[in-house]
């Protein structure tokens, strides 16, 4: 074990941390918007829209993320009209390709989590809200959504961990985040285990923080469970 090398590699690895964090936070934020839209579409009651949304979820959950990233990064450039469109300055950059692929991927998984949570809200609560004279939109905003968001937190925590790990795939399309830097340094120094331990520890710390944050959110959203204890 070369402790000096491990210690010296830390600053360079942490240099990739900012990119890793950008990928995580960016795709989680955008993915939440996608998930919200898709979950609503899947519960809309319109057959066509529901089938389309279900197809999106099926495709993105059924294929490896690596395929999705390559499809976006290498695949989209094949088409003339995409290269000519206003989107090309974005889709030419591996950074935006990674964000797009990660967003679509987490959007599909999260929409299922959210849909399950919305369906788990007791029908009686919706009926009660309607009986109080709330409109459908108001009942959704004040009753269904808050309860659903609290319900989905444990499952969403798993998804966050998966996303932290998924950002490592961005290294395959030349992005120098933590895994990319680790791979380059392994190629330079052949110190496989030392660098693996440093990179792995960074991800473990990220995941540890992520689980704490989700736990904290769960604690904040369940005051009624605390009061009785």
């Amino acid at each position: 074990m070369n402790w000096q090398l491990m210690w010296d590699s830390l600053p360079r690895m942490l240099g990739g941390l900012s990119l890793t964090l950008q990928l995580i936070l960016g795709s989680l934020a955008l993915g939440a918007l996608v998930a919200f839209a898709v979950a609503l579409l899947r519960l809309s009651g319109n057959r066509v829209v529901e089938t389309l949304a279900a197809a999106y979820v099926f495709v993105f959950r059924g294929t490896p993320l690596l395929v999705q990233i390559f499809l976006v990064y290498y695949g989209l450039g094949q088409f003339e009209f995409i290269r000519d469109s206003f989107l090309w300055p974005f889709l030419r950059e591996p950074y935006w390709c990674a964000i797009l692929a990660l967003t679509l991927n987490t959007g599909a998984y999260t929409s299922e989590v959210l849909r399950g949570a919305i369906l788990s809200v007791p029908q009686g609560q919706v009926e009660a809200a309607r009986a109080c004279g709330m409109s459908r939109a108001l009942a959704f905003r004040r009753i269904v959504l808050p309860v659903a968001i609290r319900q989905m937190l444990p499952a969403y925590g798993n998804e966050v961990i998966l996303m932290v790990k998924a950002t490592s795939l961005a290294s395959t399309i030349t992005l120098m985040e933590v895994t990319g830097i680790a791979r380059r340094m392994i190629a330079q120094t052949f110190a496989v285990f030392e660098l693996f331990i440093v990179a792995g520890a960074i991800y473990l710390v990220l995941n540890f923080i992520a689980t704490r944050l989700i736990k904290f959110a769960e604690w904040r959203l369940t005051p009624y469970l605390r009061a009785r204890a």
């Binding site: 099926f58 495709v59 059924g62 294929t63 490896p64 993320l65 690596l66 395929v67 999705q68 390559f70 499809l71 290498y74 695949g75 989209l76 450039g77 094949q78 088409f79 961990i161 932290v164 790990k165 998924a166 950002t167 490592s168 795939l169 290294s171 395959t172 895994t179 680790a182 791979r183 392994i186 052949f190 496989v192 285990f193 693996f196 990179a199 792995g200 991800y203 473990l204 995941n207 540890f208």
Partner: protein
Amino acid sequence: MGTAMTVAVAVSAFAFGIVVGSLGASAKLSHSLALNVLADFYTTIVRGIPELLVIYLLFFGGSGVATSIAAAFGYDGRIDLDAFTIGVLAVGLISGAYSTEVIRGAVQSVPFGQIEAARACGMSRWLILRRVLVPQTLRFALPGLGNVWQLTLKDTALVSVTALAELMRVTHLAAGATRQPFLFYGTAAVLYLVLTTISTALFNRAEISANRGVRRA
């Protein structure tokens, strides 16, 4: 061809993962503190770091470890693990960590009264394991193992970084050679979809057959 290799890696890794998972689950449920800590360490680490890193570790470091283990047994000379073995080991270790948790949960959900009843009937430990614990565990574990299988199948795509000619690697080469990446990655996506769809159907049938003794409400 690539698809056959993908299925081969996935099936071997899943089988290896179940063996590791059973060992891991028995370690977690044993009364030995050392085994508990060891198994906890394994599942926490492997589930907490990216799959790609685990594959890089074994790809770059696997042969070195194999060589030093062989050296400890008095064999000098270098052992080079081939890409298939490394792929199966790496994906299997990842799959095993998830299987450990699934199997542990399933074992714990077998009601203890059933084991007591079996003991009261005079069954030996092995007979209880074979006739009561394993069939019940299988029933509880199947949905979870189905998820692990889907993860394993998709993780095999990452093995393409080790130059093993599975589906993803072949696609990558073909896409580079023909300059039609969308077509080829699209085809790969469809093939993966077919694989996951078939396996979902198979797991549903397995679940029905494992649950045949359960009365429906």
